[in-house]
């Protein structure tokens, strides 16, 4: 094994050698630099191998041959090895990345780079506090030197600000060190830690405070970090990458970790508080940023804050400390370095300028992977880490910390995903001809830079795999659906036909394989998710080309759904939940104008997911593999809270009222075949979650309020208001989206009834809603595709042009409105029986009224699109493409079949459900004997109804056609028009504001209170962010004063502990 000291020796020696080389031996100098970095990396890697695989133990290295306190000693353990690798690799890759700049500046720059890396390695390795100081100062000097590499001239002033701060830091550090030494008589961390507890009182603790605060300052905590942000903004991106990943994210936090050995437990809360404050505040302030590198800077500050917070919680993390802290730290390092490297390709500094990435799928994949890593999404290490962290925090009842961490994560995710939205959706900036000379190109694809970025990408996925292996749970990479979804990333180059066929085949096959494992409830959901998804995918055949990005996203969503159905424990459930959220987000984002809607979708979804996470964590109380069935045994004081958190989380997905504002835009703006997927299928995931929840936890009471009763009201209100809002939409897809909200309200209501019929009704809605909403979205999508608009009043009279779409919509609206004989009626019938056996009477009033209201918007949908007056520009329109029509016709058939024999599916579910409501089984399920379905109250025979109606209908129709066989077919203006004639179709088609009188009477109910609430909240956050960031004045002196004030405040705050 190579002695660790060689890492330092090589760094230092090579740096020295570089100074001796001749000025123009650039190649040799560069080779030396790279060579030494590689050899340093090799040493670190060898050690890591030693610890990780060969089971080695921590090694102490004594430099001067004597033990401390007489000489400096270094320590090499697994943590050090990993951090060294991070530092050296970030240095190595950055050196490759900025080779051009290095060549320009020559050997001196390279030696400074080496010194920088060496110093950081030293910080990590050393166990001597004065040595720590020396290495920090070296790092400062090297930083100042490296800042000069930047092409941004303002890096100079940033460097000077940094020097001012580092002067202060060195003052604090030195005073701290000397008094610590004075008190303890040693400079060795471990010795001091061993000695000191009682001597640390008084002057000792002050001395320690000085050291800690100095080292903490190097980790750039909020608010004493203006200088760091300036560096991030102005430095060469490759240096920022190192500065963020290696210096702040690895070396400084590890120094804090080491110092805490001295301070002991009592200092942990201080670190936690500073970390949390940085995490939340930095992410909040980042909301108002427009400069990309500064945004990344804020994000760095936040992430480092999170790591500090984790360090502060090490007292409860136990064995998981390294796993958690490491997961977050590595995710941060790789992702942030990667993002900075990408920023080096971009010519302009506005966040929206990143839209130039759009044409490069690999770069987009890199970006996505990096922000997913930062946001803690599966399968990346930060996901496992956050999961474990949250579990432990919840178990230890540190709920405030938990709340702040989740809040910060949500804020971070919002600006990161907003940024991603910019990339995919904003106008690509165009370069003016005359600007080419004096400005850098918008996007420079330099091969070696790309190589560096892609190696970070590879590392991120490698780490994802590694953390999956290390975690206490199954590696998510072993989940078949996920692998299937990811494999589409490799297939991006083939045509849609092949990919689509593969996708459909895969989904059907997976369903067939898994079929024996499902219970009846799961069969229903799995059938909708997988088979239903496959049917909708048929519509995707209408797209030509390669459709890059669609299949990985879609398959990711379906993978999540497939995994959700079979998930048995909370971890897999949650991971599946996150997968389907991300997948659907990407799909929604594909829509033309969907940027803001996709953003609000992902924010709401992640918010909901965090609630679910917290709920599971509270429920698990430290149990590693928390079986979902154990939700039933959660103890009394926590149970209602768990219920509440989970329920709200799931209701975010079903878009219950108050949490619904993301849905209309997201569903309406999505692509033609995506809308049915996210509406017809995705919404059911929330219902599935609710079913799992309710099935296990049953009725819960909080402060004497029965939570299912509250849900009942929410469901009723959702149904009512969702339908009411749908009435006033001009946009057909938006109308359908609001209708989905309403329909989900029904289902929620049914579930909250907590009786068997209510559940049966909810399931009936699940099936029906899937069929008819998918069908309607497809037909409306097809129409919108042909007409080029979604505004219904711009259409009209399309029945002649698109008869099949009309039939689909007609059947669809009959089914939705619940008019016999189609299957919607079954849902209504079960609903009536369900409420009869429930003791709740008031909320169902709202449900009653929402039925006829649904009728309003449904009629409007069919009338204003297909009936009325055909417009000039639609006179030659064609029927929707075959592949969009095909699924619709399948749905029509399915609706008919389901209308006639609803028992086919439902009777099994009914039987399956009855044990769950055994205690109230006096009023139980339905009797499915023969043709008639009977309940305790009434009866219903679908087949005779269908036959009777069909016969009457057919007879009358035949007769009317016979009588009018010679009727003159007239055209659209041949109408009685008060003795005048119509002027233009546009002025004759009564469609816009169709329900004006209804708006007069009921409009007061649809004041957008909820939207206004969320908008105000967002605006408030942005205002706060914008206000508070002005606090970073850009003046180095102000920063210094801020640092001093920070020190004083932290000291006072600490005294409180």
């Amino acid at each position: 094994m190579v002695n660790v000291i060689f890492i330092i020796v090589i760094g230092l020696g090579a740096a020295f050698l570089l100074g001796l080389l001749r000025e123009n031996w650039r190649n040799a100098a560069y080779a030396l630099t790279i060579g030494s970095l590689v050899s340093m990396a090799w040493i670190a890697a060898r050690w890591l191998l030693f610890f990780a695989v060969e089971g080695g133990t921590t090694v102490e290295v004594f430099t001067a041959g004597t033990e401390p306190p007489f000489a400096i000693n270094l320590r090499m353990g697994i943590a050090e090895a990993v951090l060294l690798l991070v530092v050296i690799f970030s240095g190595l890759l950055s050196a490759v990345y900025m080779s051009k700049s290095l060549f320009r500046l020559g050997g001196r720059a390279m030696s400074v780079l080496l010194v920088f890396i060496m110093a950081l390695c030293g910080i990590i390795l050393t166990r001597d506090i004065f040595n720590l100081f020396v290495f920090f100062e070296l790092a400062v000097i090297a930083t100042a030197g490296l800042l000069l590499i930047s092409e941004n001239k303002q890096a100079l002033s940033a460097g000077f600000k940094y020097l001012i701060i580092s002067q202060l830091v060195s003052v604090f550090l030195l005073i701290g060190i000397i008094f610590t030494y004075h008190v303890s008589g040693s400079l060795n961390i471990d010795t001091i830690a061993g000695v000191s507890l009682d001597t640390m009182k008084g002057i000792g603790s002050l001395a320690f405070f000085f050291m800690l605060i100095a080292v903490l300052t190097e980790a750039k905590p909020f608010p004493a970090n203006g200088w760091a942000l300036d560096i991030y903004e102005s430095a060469h991106p490759a240096f920022s990458a190192m500065f963020s990943a290696a210096m702040a994210g690895s070396a400084a936090v590890y120094a804090v970790d080491k110092l805490l050995l001295i301070g002991g437990q009592q200092w942990l809360p201080v670190v936690t508080a500073i970390g949390l404050l940085s995490f939340v505040a930095a992410n909040l302030l980042a909301l108002a940023q427009t400069n990309d590198r500064r945004t990344l800077g804020y994000s760095s500050v936040g992430q480092v804050g999170l790591i500090l917070a984790v360090i502060g919680q090490r007292d409860i993390l136990g064995d998981n400390y390294l796993f958690i802290a490491g997961g977050i730290l590595l995710s941060h390092a790789v992702a942030k370095a990667g993002l900075y490297w990408i920023s080096g390709l971009i010519g302009q500094r506005n966040l929206t300028d990143w839209a130039v990435l759009r044409r490069h799928p690999m770069l987009i994949l890199s970006f996505v992977s990096f922000i997913a890593m930062l946001s803690g999404l599966p399968p990346f290490p930060s996901f496992y880490a956050k999961w474990d962290l949250v579990m432990i925090l919840a178990t230890e009842n540190r709920l405030w910390i938990l709340a702040f961490i989740l809040l910060g994560s949500l804020l971070e995710a919002s600006y990161l995903f907003r940024w991603f939205g910019y990339i995919l959706k904003r106008e690509t900036p165009r370069q003016e001809k005359n600007e080419v000379e004096n400005k850098s190109p918008l996007l420079s694809l330099v091969p070696h830079k790309l190589l560096v970025i892609f190696s970070a990408l590879a590392t991120s996925w490698g780490l994802a795999y590694l953390w999956g292996e290390l975690s206490a749970y199954d590696n998510l990479f072993y989940a078949l659906p996920l692998l299937f979804a990811l494999s589409f990333l490799l297939l991006e180059w083939v045509s849609v036909w092949i990919k689509n066929t593969l996708a459909i085949a895969g989904m059907v096959a997976y369903f067939v394989i898994s079929y024996p494992l499902y219970d009846p409830l799961q069969i229903i959901f799995a059938a909708i998710f997988l088979l239903g998804g496959a049917v909708i995918l048929l519509a995707s055949y209408h797209v030509h080309g390669r459709r890059i990005g669609f299949y990985p996203s879609a398959m990711l969503m379906f993978a999540g759904l497939a995994m959700l159905v079979v998930a048995e424990d909370s971890f897999h459930f949650f991971a599946a939940w996150e997968f389907l959220t991300i997948g659907s987000y990407f799909m929604i984002l594909r829509g033309k104008n969907s940027e803001p809607h996709a953003l609000s979708y992902i924010i709401f979804s992640l918010g909901g997911a965090f609630l679910i996470l917290t709920g599971f964590a509270l429920a698990a109380q430290g149990v590693v593999l928390f079986n979902l069935g154990s939700l039933a045994h959660v103890a009394a004081p926590i149970a209602p809270w768990v219920f509440l958190l989970l329920a709200i989380g799931f209701m975010t997905k079903t878009a219950a009222i108050g949490l619904h504002i993301w849905l209309p835009g997201a569903h309406a703006e999505a692509e033609t075949d995506v809308s049915p997927m996210v509406s017809g299928i995705l919404l059911k995931a929330g219902l599935f979650g609710l079913m799992v929840l309710l099935m296990n936890m049953g009725k819960q009471q909080l402060y004497g309020i029965e939570l299912t009763y509250v849900m009942l009201w929410i469901g009723a209100l959702t149904a009512f208001l969702g339908n009411l809002m749908a009435v006033f939409q001009e946009d057909a897809k938006r109308l359908l989206a609001y209708s989905s909200i309403g329909q989900m309200g029904y289902a929620l209501f049914g579930l909250a009834l907590m009786n068997q019929l209510g559940w049966l009704m909810a399931l009936m809605f699940v099936i029906n809603h899937y069929i008819y909403k998918s069908m309607l979205f497809l037909s409306v999508g097809g129409v919108a595709k042909r007409t080029g608009t979604r505004d219904m009043y711009k259409m009209g009279g399309l029945i002649a042009m698109m008869p099949l779409s009309f039939i689909a919509v007609l059947i669809g609206i009959i089914a939705v409105s619940g008019v016999p004989p189609l299957s919607g009626f079954g849902g209504r019938w079960i609903f009536y029986n369900a409420i009869l056996s429930s003791e709740y009477r008031l909320p169902m009033m709202l449900i009653f009224i929402s039925g006829p209201i649904a009728f309003l918007y449904l009629f409007r949908l069919i009338h204003t699109i297909f009936l009325g007056q055909l417009k000039d520009d639609h006179r030659q329109i064609k029927e929707a493409p075959f592949w969009i029509m095909l699924p619709q016709m399948i749905y029509v058939a399915a609706l008919m079949v389901f209308a006639v024999v609803p028992g086919l599916l439902l009777r099994h579910v009914d039987a399956y459900l009855s044990p769950f409501f055994a205690e109230s089984a006096a009023r139980g399920g339905l009797n499915w004997q023969g043709l008639t379905i009977t309940s305790d109250y009434g009866y219903w025979s679908p087949i005779p109804i269908m036959v009777i109606i069909a016969i009457i209908f057919a007879l009358l129709f035949a007769w009317l056609v016979f009588v009018n066989r010679k009727a003159q077919k007239v055209k659209q203006f041949n109408i009685v028009y008060s003795a005048e004639r119509p002027f233009r179709p546009e002025t004759t088609h009564f469609a816009w504001n169709f329900f004006a009188p209804y708006r007069k009477a009921m409009g007061f109910l649809i004041q957008p209170f909820v939207t206004r609430f969320w908008e105000t909240l967002t605006e408030l956050l942005h205002t706060i962010a914008d206000l508070f960031r002005r606090f970073y004045t850009g003046n180095g002196q102000t920063y210094a004063i801020q640092l001093l004030a920070f020190v004083v405040v932290v000291y006072l705050f600490r005294v409180e502990f």
Partner: protein, 301 residues
Amino acid sequence: MQFEWIQIPYALLTLSIIINFGLLMNAFVAKIGARVGRRVGIPIYQNYIDLIKNYGLRSSITHGVMFYLGPVFRLTGGIGLLMFVPTIYGSVMFSNFSFAGDLILALYFIFFGTLGMALGAGESGHPHAAIGVSRGLSQVTMAELPLALAVFSIALQYNTLSVTEIVAAQQGGVLNWTLFTNPLAVVAAMLSFLGSVMRPPFDVVLAPQEIPIGPPTEYHSSYLALMQTNRVIFPIAKMVIFMNLFFGGADNWPVFFVKIFMIYMFAVFIGVVFPRFRVEQSIRWFLIWAVPIGILAVIVV
């Protein structure tokens, strides 16, 4: 109860009785109105003549498939509604096809005709038709609500959704009628009834002066005749439900005729007294007066 072939002639018999009764009753009501206004009024057989004339018109035009289907839907809705509810209590002959479904089926089937009519009217491409539909649908959403509440209330009261059983529970004296056992529900339902018979004050849907008769503006000849037939059947079918639910049903035809007539006259009386509401006014009226009574009925029962 199951299907038997004999039920078909029975059902046709019921249908013909109802049609004739309806034609005569409508004329009779019109006659009463005329007499109140000191007019002679239409001949009692006038509705037959109108029907024959409309069927006998020589020419007709069509605006498209849905234009045909509109009246078909409408009349199917009327006949179907009649067929799904037992007409005469205790009579096998006149229980129609009520084995197919219970009260809920009937209530939801009411919309079948409405939907078809609206579609047919839409196909005609006439803005007045669309305006009429808009008004009608807006109004019906609120007008149906008290009825739904009342039905829920009596379903709770009798603990069943079967019409036959509800009627059975009301036998044995006038005081057993829902009218007396659950007056709130009946009040709510009867107020709702006002909103669904297209008589003043809730007839803005047809509004002959401003949107010439609304949805059926374009309908004529045999289409119109079909709809006229439905206008005879449908209110009676609906009133049959009311009669069965609230007024003790009928165990023979004379009682049936009297009860239906009385229920209808209720709407007529109100109609001749009050002027017409605008849509938003009628919605508010239902919301303020009828719905609370319905809610009360649900809570109290």
